[in-house]
């Protein structure tokens, strides 16, 4: 059995007193890129937030890099090498672009990523580094959010709907950069509403519906008919 960078069994998540996830079994090996697809409200974002400890969860096991992380606070899980690009980017308004990037490295994990490395991948950010984070266009803000997550030198990068609200050409550019980023053995979980885009980059696909995994497999093995049925449940 190859080493699993991340494995969850029976993961359940709650918002207040109603349940959002109903027992998710998921695993990912180092270097793999997995796409999680599903319609609005299927529990995709909740899954990512559960992994980093931002949502109340119950589970049989949640192990990351060989250690149990269930119930740990977010800052401990982040320090262990997990990083999330949040839905809607959510840069810090009172911080400049460069400050938004540097705060990504707050947990000071060693690795290839620093300000210069991010500026080489996203050169446009270097010119705009003293501007407030939120004064940039949607696409540029997405680059900052991605760069900020990379600055933590994560073993596992979680991306939540990075194509949201962006023009198609910008989405293509972001995904090209993502491909270059994941070339050097970074493991990525990609939550994406845009199924075609997700299938193009993923080694494996999980389809969520109403808080459950309804389909899992390699993109090549799954027919479009099967995905649409899983996606809509009809």
């Amino acid at each position: 059995m190859p080493f699993k960078l991340l494995e969850t069994r029976g993961l359940m998540a709650f918002y207040g007193d109603f349940q959002a996830l109903f027992g998710i079994d998921f695993q990912i090996e180092p270097g793999e890129t997995i796409a999680v697809i599903g319609s609005n409200g299927a529990g995709k974002s909740t899954f990512l937030k559960s992994l980093v400890g931002l949502v109340r969860t119950k589970a049989e096991t949640v192990s990351f890099d060989g250690q149990a992380i269930w119930g740990k606070p977010a800052y401990r899980i982040i320090a262990q090498g997990m990083s999330l690009v949040p839905e809607g980017r959510r840069l810090f308004p009172s911080l400049t672009v460069e400050e938004n990037l540097s705060i990504g490295a707050y947990s000071r994990r060693k690795g290839p990523w620093n300000l210069d490395a991010v500026y080489t991948v996203f050169p446009v950010l270097k010119e705009k580094r003293i501007l407030p984070g939120t004064a940039l266009s949607g696409g540029q803000q997405q680059m900052v959010a991605l760069g900020r997550a990379l600055m933590a030198n994560p073993k596992l990068l979680l991306c939540d709907e990075i194509s949201l609200g962006l023009a198609p050409i910008v989405i293509r550019e972001i995904y090209e950069q993502l491909e270059r980023i994941t070339a050097n053995e970074t493991t990525v979980i990609l939550v994406e509403q845009d199924v075609k885009q997700a299938m193009a980059v993923a080694d494996r696909v999980y389809c969520f519906r109403e808080g459950r995994v309804v389909l899992e497999g390699r993109p090549s093995d799954l027919g479009r008919e099967q995905i649409t049925k899983a996606y809509f449940g009809v």
Binding site: Y15, F18, A20, G41, A42, E210, G211
Partner: protein
């Protein structure tokens, strides 16, 4: 099918309490005939705090207006009574009632200022305005300035000739105001205005978009509460026969204790202030002579309650035992089975168990 469904406003428990309530009030009315002077004085203090706590609960618990400045209207009411009786010779008991509208008039400019604040800033802003009133009345030498003044003897005589009669008249006024305030609040909360207030408290944006005029409703409640608080202030100063800026506008007596009472008793429920007041006076009777130790304990007790029991005793009782003295909610009574008509069944409410439905949320 649904014509057979009845919207029920009161439950068996609340009807029971209503009967008990009437009996209690009847007993209280008779109190002066057998209670001694200090018992009457204590009972008036209890009426005062029940009314003040219920009014503050209406503001903060139901409308979301957390004010630390209601002592402004207690003071305004008190000074209105003194001014009316001394300068216009108005009979003191009438002055108590007239003091209310006067305090309410002051609430208009005050409200215009403090409503520019939101949330925690509204709390401190209202405190500053109360301080302005306190300092202003300290400069009014004709009403005793900083050290305050006493009610002239002839006015005191005007209440009633013998001391016992005076105590009884003040007692009945206090009882009347307390019962009146509770009744008016109950009627407000049971009316459409009760719906509007709790809607504003729960979500201002949603309330405005379903037709509630937030600003005017909040201002109206602020205005009415100020008036009622003014009446109580007048009663307090009449009972004490003395008034001074620091006593009339005291943040500790008329706001700190009131907030502790409402929060420990249970904020956002009409039962809260009642339970809180009774508990507060029990503590005071036993521990008050410990002086600052008692106040230290009260401060700590409020902190602990807020941390472990934010809904207060009334909230805990409501959740554990479904206890509701004041029937303010609306419940529908469903026929137990769809095809059997309702009339065959008594007031059996639908089962309370929460079915674990599946949901998705992104």
């Amino acid at each position: 099918m649904n014509e057979t469904i009845r919207v029920e406003r009161s439950s068996r428990a609340s009807r029971l309490f209503a009967v008990f309530g009437f009996l209690l009030v009847g007993l209280l009315v008779a109190a002066p005939f057998f209670g001694n002077r200090s018992v009457l004085y204590l009972l008036v203090e209890i009426f005062v705090y029940i009314a003040l706590a219920s009014l503050w609960n209406l503001l903060a618990g139901y409308t979301g207006l957390v004010s630390i400045g209601q002592q402004a209207f207690v003071g305004l009411g008190g000074y209105s009574l003194f001014a009316l009786t001394i300068f216009t010779g108005m009979p003191p008991l009438l002055a108590v009632l007239v003091a209310g509208p006067i305090a309410a008039l002051f609430a208009i400019p005050t409200g215009f200022v403090v409503f520019r604040f939101k949330g925690a800033y509204f709390a401190i802003g209202s405190w500053v305005v109360a301080e302005v009133y306190r300092l202003t009345f300290a400069q009014v030498s004709v009403l005793g300035g900083g050290s305050g003044t006493s009610l002239p003897v002839e006015i005191v005589q005007h209440i009633a000739n013998s001391r016992l009669e005076r105590d009884s008249v003040i007692y009945w006024t206090g009882l009347g105001i307390a019962v009146g305030v509770l009744t008016v609040i109950y009627l407000i909360l049971r009316s459409r205005w009760g719906l509007a207030l709790t809607a504003i408290r729960d979500s201002e944006a949603a309330a405005e978009s379903v037709g509630v005029d937030n600003y005017r409703t909040k201002f109206l409640i602020y205005f009415l509460t100020a008036g009622a608080t003014g009446c109580i202030g007048a009663l307090i100063s009449l009972q004490k026969l003395r008034i001074s800026p620091d006593a009339a506008f005291s943040v500790n007596d008329w706001t700190a204790f009131v907030i502790f009472i409402v929060v420990i008793g249970g904020i956002g429920r009409m039962e809260g202030p009642l339970i809180g007041t009774i508990l507060f006076f029990i503590l005071r009777e036993f521990f008050a002579d410990l002086g600052s130790w008692y106040l230290m304990f009260l401060g700590l007790f409020a902190i602990v309650m807020m941390l472990i029991m934010p809904k207060g005793i009334a909230g805990w009782l409501a959740e554990r035992f479904e206890l509701q003295i004041f029937p303010l909610g609306r419940r529908i009574i469903l026929p137990r089975d769809k095809h059997i008509s309702f009339s065959q069944f008594g007031t059996s409410a639908i089962s309370k168990k929460r079915s674990p439905t599946k949901i998705t949320d992104d």
